[in-house]
């Protein structure tokens, strides 16, 4: 075979010297990408779902929670450093990572390969959704969003369906991202450990999706299961 012949001919003392390791910055940027998805973005996501759950108590409590967050000290620097910059980095670097992969689901339709493909698509959907969401609820309201603003947006069926898709995409991306993190940081090694991590992170993803959809339900149907607290 031509390839084999060529390989044999190359085995000379010069060819067998050890090539130097090629340094790369991409290791640290990739690790930062996976970390930023958990902290601060994932942590903020949890906080965001928590605060918005006040919609399930009462309009007054929701507006109070919004006002408390809108009046924290150092608001804009905190938003910029803990929310905007990490999301912009995670989003744009994520698109760069996407560009280095070529999905081959049609040939190899295994479970984890599906998750890989879905992670890319949900990431893109989430990035677009978050961009729109921040524009509408943060900047169009001059940073003074209230229950009324969110309820008005959700009154439009088009925006409402975008919210549903966005919350499902974000929840999947976060749940599967936690599993990716466990793998990429070597927190789980064995196949059983990987499987257990998949169950745990999957449950977290489902929990986020359920809570997110219940909040939407609260806005659309004025459903307030915790209203008795406020009375």
């Amino acid at each position: 075979m031509p390839a084999k012949a060529a390989a044999t001919a190359e085995v000379t003392p010069e060819a067998t010297t050890v090539p130097a390791a090629v340094p790369s910055r991409s290791y640290i940027w990739d690790k930062l990408h996976s970390l930023s998805g958990i902290v601060p973005i994932g942590a903020f996501l949890a906080e965001h779902f928590w605060s918005n759950s006040y919609a399930l108590v009462s309009i007054d409590r929701y507006n109070q929670a919004s006002y408390d967050l809108q009046t924290i000290p150092w608001r804009v620097p905190v938003e910029a450093l803990l929310i905007w910059l990490p999301i912009l980095y995670h989003g744009f670097y994520g698109v760069y990572i996407w560009s280095k992969g070529e999905s081959n689901l049609s040939r190899y339709g295994y479970g984890a390969n599906w998750m890989y493909a879905l992670q890319r698509w949900t990431g893109l959907i989430a990035f677009v959704f978050i961009g729109w969401h921040v524009y509408v609820e943060r900047f169009m309201t001059q940073g003074r969003s209230t229950y009324f603003d969110v309820a008005t947006t959700m009154a439009n069926p088009l925006y409402l369906s975008f919210y549903v898709i966005g919350i499902l995409a974000v929840s999947f991306h976060f749940g599967n991202g936690l599993w990716q993190f466990a793998n990429k940081w070597g927190l789980v090694v064995g196949r059983d450990a990987q499987r257990k991590a998949a169950w745990i992170t999957g449950a977290i993803g489902v929990l986020f999706a359920v809570v997110g959809l219940l909040i939407i339900f609260g806005f659309v149907f004025q459903w307030r299961p915790f209203q008795f607290y406020a009375q």
């Binding site: 390791a21 991409s26 290791y27 992969g101 992670q119 793998n183 990987q194």
Partner: protein, 250 residues
């Protein structure tokens, strides 16, 4: 089975890296327990297409015919695998055979897999036993450790794990699961561990372990059943601890 039964084989052919690829169909006489290599041998004996047109014999690589040498990896019916263990009776017809697309083509089904050898050199995938004098026997290894290492050592560098990986393509330099498994194997070895830091440094380099996005096709495609995703996560842990704490203790 009926005598004179034939099977149809479609092969993607390319005379040289610069010439265009084309498909050719062959008709091969069926025999019991045939594998794909047997079809290629028959075609080499009588290189005439299904439509009676004489052609050149199909170039392919094969050696052991029992899935231990790794030479005959090709894409059969869209799936990357060893041709020797691909039994004709288990395949849908016509049987489509293509070269692996993750490696530069040489001719027909022959690809140049030297990328893996170059990466193995870069990642120091060996145990240093040679010196200017006899350095004596290495330390003993516990049987439990031997068992784990044995499973990892069965890699045959066939390239299936690279072929099925969404992150091995022209946009990415990813070394692939086989090479990361080698890093784990040689870091496990008491003598090989003397170079553990060098390997971990190299595996964080260009096309290193950070490129893996856990599509995990590699472990499904591995003909040797190597726990490639375990190796990957283990090397991830080693590389990360070395990156975070390594500089403190040197």
């Amino acid at each position: 089975m009926a005598e004179g039964k034939t099977i149809v084989v479609k092969i993607k052919r390319q005379a040289s890296p610069t010439e265009p690829a084309r498909w050719e169909e062959f008709s091969v006489r069926w025999r019991p327990n045939m594998n794909v290599i047997a079809c290629l041998i028959d075609i080499a004996e009588n290189p005439v297409t299904r439509y009676g047109k004489p052609t050149t014999p199909v170039s392919y690589e094969a050696n052991c015919l029992e899935e231990v040498c790794g030479a005959c990896a090709v894409v059969i019916n869209g799936r990357s695998r060893q041709a020797c263990s691909a039994l004709v009776d288990h395949l849908d017809q016509p049987i489509r055979i293509e070269p692996m697309s993750s490696f530069p083509i040489v001719r027909d089904l022959v690809v140049d897999r030297s990328k893996m050898f170059e990466d193995a050199k870069r990642l120091r995938c060996w145990v240093p036993i040679d010196g200017t004098y006899d350095i004596g026997p290495g330390p003993r290894i516990a049987p439990e450790r031997q068992q784990v290492a044995y499973a990892l050592s069965r890699c045959i560098f066939c390239g299936n794990c690279l072929e099925v990986c969404p992150k091995v393509n022209e946009h990415s330099d990813f070394v692939g699961a086989a090479l990361i498994n080698q890093v784990r194997l040689f870091n496990m070895h008491p003598t090989g561990a003397m170079h553990a830091h060098e390997r971990l440094q190299a595996v964080r380099g260009i096309g290193g372990i950070q490129e893996c996005d856990n599509a995990q096709n590699c472990v499904k495609a591995c003909p040797k059943g190597i726990p490639l995703t375990e190796s990957n996560n283990d090397v991830n842990r080693q590389a990360l601890l070395d990156a975070i704490f390594g500089w403190m203790f040197r």
